[in-house]
């Protein structure tokens, strides 16, 4: 905010001198060369997108700029001068801020307290709570975020919390703002509020680095786009000079058709059917899944899709209607009922629901099938080892060994565990809740390939996704949810994107 004037005053010259420049920036960790002599310049007031697969070096780049890691060699230049960024404090002092993928704020404090954290309004040694809430509300309204400043952060949705983090980063004299996958958990309206803010910051001369797997956002927002692959800078181009096809080819050597590759599998018997199923957050949902079929559930966040599948998994049992499993009525009261029928769930949040992060990879893979690996009262070491090794091999999970902690893996590889741990289980119905959030194109393709394998084995899949191209391309039957109701159903690629979207929004 206060930064606007000097940048603008610099006028034309500011356009020539990069606000931040990387010169042969290099970072090695034990065992990996994460960033290889990257040269890159960021201009004042530009939105610069960076794309690349997981593990391409984007996170490392952010961490070097924000002082979390220290570079191995090369220089970071700030307004033409060498900036020795060694701690997060150095970076913030320059005016560099980042909005991370995971919210790093205090859930127990109010939105206002979080906004002013470390910079509280104090009078006579006392915190000015009311004044802070008032000022925070003013700031939020000003930047166009529809958020209650007095609410406790933890009571908001993840998307709203993400916006609070954004507001915090955007209002601290920031000249250089980095977004890491900012829309992963946002609703459409929230994303629109975020984009509006980004455009206003840009107009004020703030430089934005925008990292996203969602290429349509990149084309919507960015002035220039850089591609990273295996720690190297592949190219930087003006957004007008490139297209999705080219970006994807730069990130990997694969085309869009190959990403959404789908084998035709003949449908078999009906596995699961719901009749007028009603529960908390959804009502009167009738649908069915056959062997070899992907049933896509599309809708805005809060439309009841997740609640619906969680009731199928027994997390919160349905209150009315019927569930038929292989044509027989069943009651699913808890997760173990669901699992013993043969329903497996890969939940939405791998960190909170999917993985035991501080346990080894092998431990996570075998957790659902320990019963089967038990001989007598003890776990059989041989089958346990081979089951884990087979899964790591089949899924191409990149890990030092099955003893490495799950937390040491990249997001995409973690997601492969979340899905892969069910492959040994022999479930007949798989529920995938947002399986590719924050996952790169290459891993996406592998996850889709995995789904194909499951279908060929005679399983059925329920796929929930907020990413329309994904459900659109993959689902044999696409159900659209709106406000807890199933409002429309389509065959494979029958309706247009626009139709599906307007059904979900309700216009």
């Amino acid at each position: 905010m206060t930064t606007a004037s000097p940048t603008l005053a610099a006028g034309v010259a500011a356009d020539r001198v990069p606000i931040l420049e990387l010169r042969k920036l290099d970072k090695r960790f034990t065992g990996t060369h994460a960033l290889k002599a990257v040269d890159l310049a960021f201009m004042p007031g530009e939105v610069h997108a960076i794309v690349g697969e997981n593990g391409a070096g984007k996170s490392t780049l952010i961490k070097l700029l924000t002082g979390v890691h220290v570079r191995s060699s090369g220089d970071i230049m700030w307004q033409g001068q060498v900036a020795p960024i060694a701690t997060p404090h150095d970076s913030i002092a320059l005016g560099i801020n980042a909005v991370h993928q995971e919210v790093v704020l205090c859930p127990a404090l109010t939105v206002a307290a979080n906004l002013f954290l470390g910079d509280e309004e104090v009078k006579y040694g006392f915190l000015q709570h009311r004044a802070m809430v008032r000022d925070a509300q003013k700031i939020l309204d000003e930047i166009g975020f529809n958020l209650p400043a007095g609410a406790v952060l933890g009571t908001l949705t993840i998307g709203q919390q993400q916006l609070v983090a954004t507001a915090r980063a955007a209002t601290r004299g920031t000249k250089f703002l980095i977004f890491d996958e900012p829309t992963a958990y946002l609703t459409r309206q929230e994303a629109a509020q975020l984009f509006a803010l980004i455009r206003r910051l840009k107009a004020r001369g703030v430089t934005i680095v925008y990292i996203s797997h969602r290429l349509e956002e990149v084309f919507d927002l960015a002035d220039r786009v850089s591609i990273l692959r295996d720690g190297e800078l592949v190219s930087t181009s003006r957004i007008e000079d490139t297209d999705e096809e080219r970006l994807i080819r730069g990130m990997i050597n694969r085309t869009i058709e190959q990403v959404f590759h789908k084998d035709e599998v003949p449908f078999g018997n009906t596995i699961l059917e719901t009749r007028h199923l009603t529960g908390r957050g959804f009502s009167d949902v009738s649908m069915s899944v056959r062997q070899g079929e992907i049933v896509g559930l599309y809708g805005l966040i809060g439309a009841g899709r997740s609640e619906f599948v969680l009731s199928l998994f027994g997390r919160e049992p349905a209150t009315g209607g019927e569930i038929l499993w292989q044509d027989k009525p069943v009651k699913i009261r808890n997760e173990r009922d669901a699992l013993s029928l043969g329903i497996a769930l890969a939940p939405e949040s791998r960190r909170d629901q999917g993985l035991c992060l501080n346990m080894p990879v092998g431990f996570n893979i075998n957790l659902p099938v320990l019963r089967r690996l038990t001989r007598g009262i003890l776990i059989a070491g041989g089958p346990e080892t081979s089951a884990a090794e087979r899964q790591i091999g089949d899924l191409r999970i990149k890990t030092a060994s099955r003893h490495a902690l799950a937390s040491s893996l990249s997001g995409g590889n973690q997601q492969k565990i979340v899905i892969g741990k069910w492959l040994n289980h022999g479930a007949k119905l798989f529920i995938f809740d947002e399986p590719t959030v924050g996952v790169d194109v290459g891993t996406k393709a592998e996850i889709y390939r995995l789904m194909g394998t499951l279908l060929q084995q005679g399983a059925g899949i329920i796929l929930i996704s907020s990413y329309l191209p994904e459900v659109y391309e993959l689902a044999d039957t696409l159900h659209v949810f709106r406000r807890g109701q199933l409002v429309a159903s389509h065959g494979h690629k029958v309706a247009s994107h626009e139709d599906v979207l307007s059904e979900a929004i309700g216009v």
């Binding site: 998994f313 997390r315 997760e335 173990r336 699992l339 769930l345 939940p347 909170d352 629901q353 999917g354 993985l355 035991c356 992060l357 501080n358 346990m359 431990f363 957790l367 659902p368 320990l370 019963r371 690996l373 038990t374 009262i377 003890l378 776990i379 070491g381 041989g382 080892t385 081979s386 090794e389 060994s401 003893h403 741990k421």
Partner: protein, 333 residues
């Protein structure tokens, strides 16, 4: 392929776990060597069995506590359970209940206490710290009420002789003391072997870790979190009741104020042994080694005539140093 992996597996596992265990063993040996060198009374036929007896009870308590800590919980009641169950068994024995039945009933009461804790945590949603803090104070109260504050002396010699006797002597009548293993120490082995199989090689042991690491992920993977929590607290309380039996046998009385502060010694032993209070990190051997390190230090301090007030300070310092080095090691990994 799978055959070679079967052989490789224990090697890798050892690489991950034993080094810290080995450092503890080394620390214990160094302590013993130093005490042997600087005192005449450490390596004697009276002191060593005494040390083993002393360490044994805290070791078993710490092992039980570790199951709970692995689930990211805490059991503050174990010391009180020891005191309370010593009253129970003393009361039963003085009312002419047979030894075996008395033991069974006492362990059963331990099981009941564990169930109560788990019930409070799972069904009432109380934090483990609170529910076990509540039983910590109230169990001692109940024990004192039962005897009206008095101490019950145990007159059953078979029961009290057990803790003074040695293993081979009591099993086969072979008298090779002082080289025989004290019965109390043999009880550690009796508990440790099943604990090892349970924690490292059974499904339920894994579930403890899964719940401690991420209970939501465990639940969605088909783990019954409720049953796992019940299991952990039952094991802890049953171990404590078992120690109550051993203590009653050793001192020949039942008194609810006994074993004051043992819960803290048990937690300290477990933590020294590498257990993380955040859950999901712990082993069967760590708490045992931790308990004997603490026992050796106390024993040595006594022999060296160190002021007992200083012993408390030394113990506190030791906890900080050992856990700090463990943290360093973890961070490097």
């Amino acid at each position: 392929m799978s055959i070679t992996q079967v052989e490789a597996a224990p090697v890798i596992r050892r690489k991950l776990h034993i080094p810290f265990g080995l450092t503890l063993v080394l620390l214990l040996l160094v302590l013993c060597a130093l005490l042997t060198y600087f005192t005449d009374s450490f390596l004697t036929e009276r002191n060593i069995p005494n040390l083993l007896r002393q360490g044994a009870m805290i070791a078993i308590l710490a092992l039980g506590e570790t199951f709970v800590i692995i689930t990211a919980g805490i059991d503050l009641s174990v010391g009180a359970v020891v005191g309370f169950t010593s009253v129970i068994v003393a009361w039963l024995l003085t009312h002419d209940v047979s030894i075996w039945l008395s033991i069974l009933i006492t362990l059963g009461i331990g099981l009941g206490i564990g169930c109560f804790h788990a019930f409070g945590i799972v069904k009432m949603g109380l934090p483990p710290f609170i529910i076990t803090l509540a039983t910590l104070t109230s169990l001692r109260g109940i024990g004192l009420l039962m005897t009206n504050g008095a101490t019950i002396s145990i007159t059953n010699d078979t029961f009290t002789d057990f803790s003074r006797n040695d293993l081979l002597n009591s099993l086969f009548g072979i008298d090779i003391s002082p080289f025989d293993v004290p019965n109390l120490f043999a009880m550690v082995v009796l508990v440790a072997v099943p604990a090892w199989l349970f924690l490292s090689h059974s499904r339920w042991g894994r579930y403890l870790f899964a719940v401690g690491s991420n209970s939501e992920a465990a639940r969605l993977s088909g783990v019954s979190v409720t049953r796992t929590i019940f299991l952990a607290y039952i094991l802890s309380s049953v171990c404590a009741a078992f120690v109550g039996l051993l203590l009653a046998s050793r001192i020949g009385i039942g008194n609810a104020t006994q074993a004051e502060g043992w819960e803290l010694q048990a937690i300290a032993s477990s933590v020294i042994g590498g257990t993380s209070l955040f859950g999901a990190v712990g082993s069967w051997h760590g708490p045992l080694l931790g308990a004997f390190i603490l026992a050796t230090i106390n024993n040595g301090a006594n022999l060296l005539n160190v002021n007992s007030f200083w012993q408390r300070i030394i113990t506190g310092g030791l906890i900080i140093v050992i856990v700090y080095f463990d943290q360093l090691r973890r961070r490097r990994r």
